[in-house]
């Protein structure tokens, strides 16, 4: 991975990387039938701080969803109708991306660093390149799947921080990573990562697995159910 390589290079350049401890209020988000979104708290601490000036420290937290290949299409006017015409396939677009920071991103790190680490929606757009990438990021943002919130990471005490992350109702299923970046005067001084899983449970999981893993059985059950529902309605409300 380019990003991990870049992090490695940056870490090597830093003389004394700080040890970051990261913890999530829950490492699994379970989607049940009453799911309308979830919020998780991300806590972190700097273990045995060695920096001279703790005031210069800034934190960036990224909740990154599973990467997927997407197709972005543009509607164009053909014979008076707006049809899908041009399209572009974008590889490795995260299904979800939510960034939180202790200060405005521009003050935390310069553009080159942000782009190297893939921090921020601008960095994602640059990495994907072009008007289709801009549209992809904009559409994801409108669907509440991409978000940037600068200044909401709270310092609870010396080297201890916290942020609340909201996951919307349409949050995609899959394996997520919660990444933390500690910046000391514009330079990465430490990183940490915790896995986060978004899964369907209970009935939701049962139905989805049946539909995708036993499609024939699912089809037979659905059709039988429909006929039974019609029959039952006729019997219950029979007039004669």
């Amino acid at each position: 991975m380019i990003i991990e390589g870049a992090v490695g290079a940056l870490l090597l350049a830093t003389p004394a990387p700080e040890a970051l401890i990261l913890s999530l209020s829950s490492d699994t988000v379970e989607i049940e039938s009453n799911f309308t979104g979830a919020s998780i708290a991300v806590f972190g601490a700097i273990d045995g701080m060695t920096v001279a000036d703790p005031e210069a420290l800034e934190i960036v937290i990224v909740v990154r969803g599973p990467e997927e290949t997407v197709t972005v299409r543009r509607r164009e006017r053909v014979l008076g109708l707006w049809l899908n015409a041009a399209s572009r396939t974008l590889d490795d677009l995260p299904a979800f991306y939510s960034l939180h920071a202790s200060a405005p991103l521009g003050e935390i790190a310069d553009e080159a660093t942000r782009e190297a680490l893939g921090l921020g929606l601008d960095a994602i757009t640059v990495a994907l390149d072009g008007s289709f990438a801009e549209a992809a990021v904009r559409l994801r943002r409108e669907d509440n799947l991409f978000d940037e919130d600068e200044g909401n990471v709270e310092w609870l005490g010396a080297g201890v921080f916290r942020v609340g992350v909201e996951l919307p109702a349409n949050v995609p299923i899959g394996d997520y990573a919660v990444e933390a970046y500690l910046f000391d005067d514009g330079v990465v001084a430490g990183t940490a990562e915790r896995p986060l899983t978004v899964v369907k449970t209970g009935t939701e999981q049962f139905i989805a697995e049946a539909a995708f893993e036993q499609p024939w059985l699912y089809a037979i059950v659905m059709v039988s159910f429909a006929v039974a529902a019609g029959w039952l309605g006729g019997v219950i409300f029979r007039r004669d």
Partner: protein
Amino acid sequence: MQLYLPIAEIPINVILIVGIGAAIGFISGLLGVSGGFLLTPLLIFAGIPTAIAVGTSAAQVVASSSSAALSYWRKGSVDFRLAFVLIAGGVVGSAVGVLSFRLLREGGQLDVIIAIAYAVLLGGVGGTMLVESIRSSLAVRRGRPEQLLREPRRRPSRLPFQMRFPVARLQISAIPLVGLGFAIGLLGSFLGVGGGFLVVPALIYFFRISTSVVIGTSLVQIVGTMAVATGLHAVANHSVDAILAIVLMTGGVVGAQFGARSASVLRGETLRALLAILVLAVGVRFMVDLVATPSEPYSISEEA
């Protein structure tokens, strides 16, 4: 009240979906149509992804039609031989429809093609219905009896595969019947509609079958064809959402009974005119979306 849909992967408002199901059920009970041609568009407008709206509508059409089909069966007004010939064509049509549905979905053109199909279909059906209902209400006002049957066309000339249908009192080649079934299966699986609004006039005007047998037979055909379409959508596209279907059917079954009861109370021409306007409005909405400059020309979809 929100409920998360396991296949569509979005939460829906239960009250809204029950309401849509009940409204469609009411119309179907009232007018003897399956209502799929309004259900799919309403689901799309409610934010359900197009593919899932079509697949789940097909399931709902099976539920609403089977209720009515059973009552016609009890009365003995179903020609099963005729229904099976139509279904035989319908199965092939459904398979072709579901397959092309899948290809278009993968090619990213599904939503646009469905919008065009609905704009044309609903515009045509709604316009014809409106003209007919205005004409018949004018005829009633002038004191003339309603002209239901037009001069029937000649039956198709002698083709091979002649078959006898005792209940419908018909002897005819199976070819045009299988062809009709195929067309309905194609349309039904592609748009999530039952196609009763096309089969009934075709059987009455073109094949000259008596109206009493036509409706029951067409309902059995719709149940058979749409059951196959539902199954194929579930297998090939994974686009039948069980929770959405259950919520829709709950509203639909109840609505259908109220519709059937209201049919004797409410005036036929007025209702048909209202339905025609509703159908036209939905068709126009699709047309506007196709013709008007979109505020967001881009769309995004995951690779299958």
